[in-house]
Symmetry: D2
Subunit: 91 residues, 4 copies
């Protein structure tokens, strides 16, 4: 999960970009750049992590609800799982 | 929306609590309480607003996906709407 | 706290706006507006609460560090208090 | 910045941990772990990024306000810079 090849690729691209941002931040800290620049890089990473979380959540919604459930019980289980994820991660 | 009477009541209770917290904060500021106490009250309001957003989002998921869609087009429209909401508000 | 009359007025104006936003949201919920509109109003409240927290923190920084400390011990105490507030509320 | 060797080491340790978390997430996605586990890892990274931002901001406060300013103008400039950083990144 995520399930389609395009979604998986998109999510992996985001994760690798975050890794690259962390590496750039490591180099900046070793080079002793000033505090404002460091905070700006950290804020950019924070934005990227939020974008990644949204992307994964969206992919999961498409996966879970893009096809009809096989039964009312399965539908209810999917809804329970999804509301639990929203409760845990929407903040 | 939210749709069931219980959900509506629960959401309204949360909104009224936030209103009450804002009123208490107003009184505290007028009374000149110290900064740490003010920030603690603001942080409590922030937590309450996040809880409210999650509650409304969860109610919407139950409403949209708790019943089978009438058609594949309707299902796709629901999924598009829900992923758009997650993209806008998960941050 | 905040200490100057202008700062106090500015903070109180923000708190009253948040109260007004909560009241408007209460009316919207009672009127049964749709979910997207409700979430948009909640997101606006969230933004207002974050702005309020920042305003109070900024006022506190001006108050604590705008005048020279009377002693190194007092300076150290102010720094400890401020870093504690950042640790608690920057998230 | 941050300035003392201990602070610099602490901040770098946090950045390297985030890089490691991103690498672990990349492997998990390639291995196809389920959505709930992916979201949990992303939430952990988000927490780590917030902790890093707080750590850097705290170090900056100690640096800027731990020593007496040389003049009232310098003190005012430091206060302006710090309130600007809080306004930009406290959210």
């Amino acid at each position: 999960m995520p399930h389609t090849p395009q979604e998986k690729k998109r999510v992996l691209t985001r994760v690798r970009r975050i890794k690259g941002q962390a590496e750039a931040l490591e180099r900046a800290l070793e080079a002793g750049v000033d505090c404002a620049a460091v905070l700006q890089q950290i804020a950019a990473i924070r934005g990227a992590v939020n974008g990644l979380m949204s992307e994964v959540m969206e992919a999961h919604i498409r996966e879970e609800f893009g096809q009809a459930a096989g039964s009312q019980a399965q539908r209810a289980a999917r809804v329970r799982e999804m509301t639990g994820l929203v409760r845990s991660y929407l903040k």
